[in-house]
Symmetry: C2
């Protein structure tokens, strides 16, 4: 929106265009950082109004993308993600209103103490500055990501997939209306208007204009961005989540937790991909689980010990322990005790979310302390890994990195803290 | 210490050696992460005992480095930093005991709340894993950095300057004794035993073995590390700190604050390098300040308006506004109001520490909210930017980055947080 230049066609042209976008974002960032909560909320509500009022225009723009996508023979899965159904359009506007209702993290002061020097020293939460979002197909990310970044006081540069360019441009027009209604600079949210891939390369290396990049999409996109970016990246590589059913598990709870962890939704990153079962309870637990999951259409792949208990189960290969299926498939491994379970998680896991089912206090305690994942759970299914469930409000993604933000990243993860030092002429 | 192999001589050999060091650190990291506070403190106290007992051996090793340094015609400044005086040796052991006395950050749980789902969800502070420290000349960093990283539950790989190799190896032997006394793995702290520069290149790109790199040293070292590292870096580029004397300043306080900010110590990153004075108070304020600083041997460089008030002052060039002197030199600029002062800081500052002197509530409030530096101060000199003064205990450095840790980085900055989710068979 408010394009600094017409869409360029050469790589030098793309770079120059992206630098204009970056400079405009950097300038807008100061104004957004200073903006009050009321102005930001007003903008978000006005964006929601615009999306509701322009629903027909959004559907029309999306129809162009869908038609072009069918012409380019996009897969059914991609076309499904690309589609803006009336429900998804309503979801965008309600998402904007939900972000408006969240508490504003900016300006929050914590740990303010009087020090022996007499100075009061504490930390103030402040925006990061300019955030770049790189995403594929789902055009509703345009509204969701813009809302979170704006509420956290940041300027945003959005780079969606080329297949969604008409939808994203139409959503950007609604965002633009909202910013104008609240008298915020329209460059606070910019949608990159060129579909040239060089724009991504420019975005992730403009360190003077961009403070952080959040890639949202498949593993290959995120690996490429991580490898090439010089701007820091909040990344979510994959969710290869485990549930370990301990010897001391209540097997009824274990059944409910594991079935829920696998079947709540197959496509989410918190879905269980590998089940680890202690050898001592394998024959008591697996038949009931196998029956439930098979009935629900889940394909099972097991280690040899699993296949002894559940004859007819397909064999799991080493490759299976490494695989995030995101599908109705579950690999099952029988292990010898807690240490073997934690060793499997350490070796094959993705540090996303891992759970133990046990009634044994000491084992629960050890699992929680020793498993090095962004979320560690006891007697709860991994599918709970979600910003809303954690009380963070909406999330921009789930970070499997250790630095800055780990686990679901909500408004707080889109801010940082500075120290404030208040004195009255003190000297050292 | 406990070298996995003899010091290699080819680049392939260095890489293989560093990978052994990395793998040993990764393995030790799990044990250190699980170690109790008592064991870690016992190790730190035993290290301090060893340094005190082996003070003569340390001095002897250091004498070898000093002699070699003189032979290589190192500068007086470098030789000064390299020297282990009895005071500095005592400083290392008392530093170790101070870190032992700090609260252990590992395992601290915060924000644990019962959610609508019935689950209890909170955050647990956990170690980062393996930390690489790259530093120059000062051998006492070996003990200081190892202590902080160990207390925060991390394994450490220390790469000191080649000019300090004998001193560092002798300190490492004391650290080794301390780890053994507490039955912690000796690979929890490793000093890289080759002085080959390829070792640094390997350290900063071994993402599977190293979680974070902290370079401590000059700007060129840090810029090189930042450019080449694929492991995340906590970096401290420079401290180009400003004090702005506002129209509404109490000029007596302003005099004390600015003199202290410049002269407390010239070589620290929190030293004031540029003074900004509001035009309305320039002629009332500058003569007294000029007299005090000149008398203390500080060279002044001023803009035209400054030189009108303080005739004989050398002219400041654009280059001066960009310069971190770390020396008894001060650049002075007369500005037109708060916005001009903040604009100068935005343009020339290094986002380290900046201060305003004012009695005006609204201007203090705006300065605190709008200046985007790691520390923002009111009526206090910038030289207070320090982990001890902030109540963080010792610091590993002062980060001018926005992500993860900002400002003085103490024990907390050497840890991260994971989510813990406690249920009783809940499903979604």
């Amino acid at each position: 929106m408010a394009t600094p230049a017409t869409s360029p066609s050469t790589e030098a042209g793309v770079n120059a265009y992206m630098r204009q976008v970056g400079a405009a974002a950097r300038e807008a960032a100061s104004a957004v950082a200073r903006a009050g909560t009321r102005a930001k909320n007003q903008a978000l509500e006005a964006m929601a109004d615009a999306i509701e009022a322009d629903a027909a225009a959004l559907a029309e723009a999306n129809a162009m993308d869908m038609e072009a996508g069918r012409g380019r023979a996009l897969s059914t899965a991609l076309l499904d993600r690309l589609e803006l159904t009336p429900g998804r359009i309503a979801g965008m506007s309600s998402g904007l209103r939900q972000v408006a209702a969240l508490p504003d993290p900016v300006g929050q002061v914590s740990e303010l103490n009087r020090r022996p020097s007499g100075l009061e020293i504490g930390r103030m939460r402040v925006p990061l500055g300019v955030i770049g979002i790189i995403y594929e197909s789902r055009p509703n990310v345009t509204a969701d990501a813009a809302a979170l970044c704006l509420k956290a006081g940041n300027a945003t540069i959005l780079r969606g997939g080329s297949e969604a360019i008409h939808s994203n441009t139409a959503i950007a027009a609604c965002i633009h209306k909202g910013l104008l209604a609240a008298r915020l600079p329209t460059h606070a949210v910019q949608v990159v208007e060129t579909t040239d891939r060089a724009a991504v390369g420019a975005l992730i290396t403009m360190n003077e204009f961009v403070d952080i990049v959040v890639p949202r999409g498949g593993k290959s996109l995120i690996e490429r961005i991580s490898a090439e970016a010089t701007v820091p990246v909040i990344k979510h590589l994959e969710g290869l989540c485990h549930v370990y059913v301990d010897t001391h598990a209540d097997l009824d709870k274990a059944l409910e937790v594991t079935v829920n962890a696998k079947t709540y939704r197959y496509g989410i990153c918190g879905a269980m991909e590998t089940l680890l079962v202690d050898r001592e309870v394998a024959s008591a637990f697996l038949p009931a689980l196998g029956a439930r999951l098979t009935q629900m259409g889940v394909e099972l792949r097991g280690c040899e010990a699993t296949r002894n208990v559940l004859p007819g189960t397909a064999p799991a290969s080493e490759e299976d322990w490494h695989t995030e299926y995101l599908a109705p498939i579950l690999s099952i491994r029988v292990v010898d005790g807690l240490d073997a379970a934690m060793e499997h998680i350490r070796r094959f896991g993705s540090s996303h979310t891992d759970a133990i089912v046990t009634e044994h206090y000491g084992r629960a305690r050890r699992f929680v302390q020793e498993v090095d994942s962004s979320s560690v759970m006891v007697n709860a299914p991994t599918c709970f890994a979600d910003g809303f469930e954690y009380g963070l409000g909406a999330e921009i993604g789930i970070s499997t990195d250790k630095l800055h933000a780990r686990g679901p990243v909500g408004l707080e993860g889109l801010t940082t803290q500075k120290f404030i030092v208040l004195g009255d002429g003190h000297t050292r």
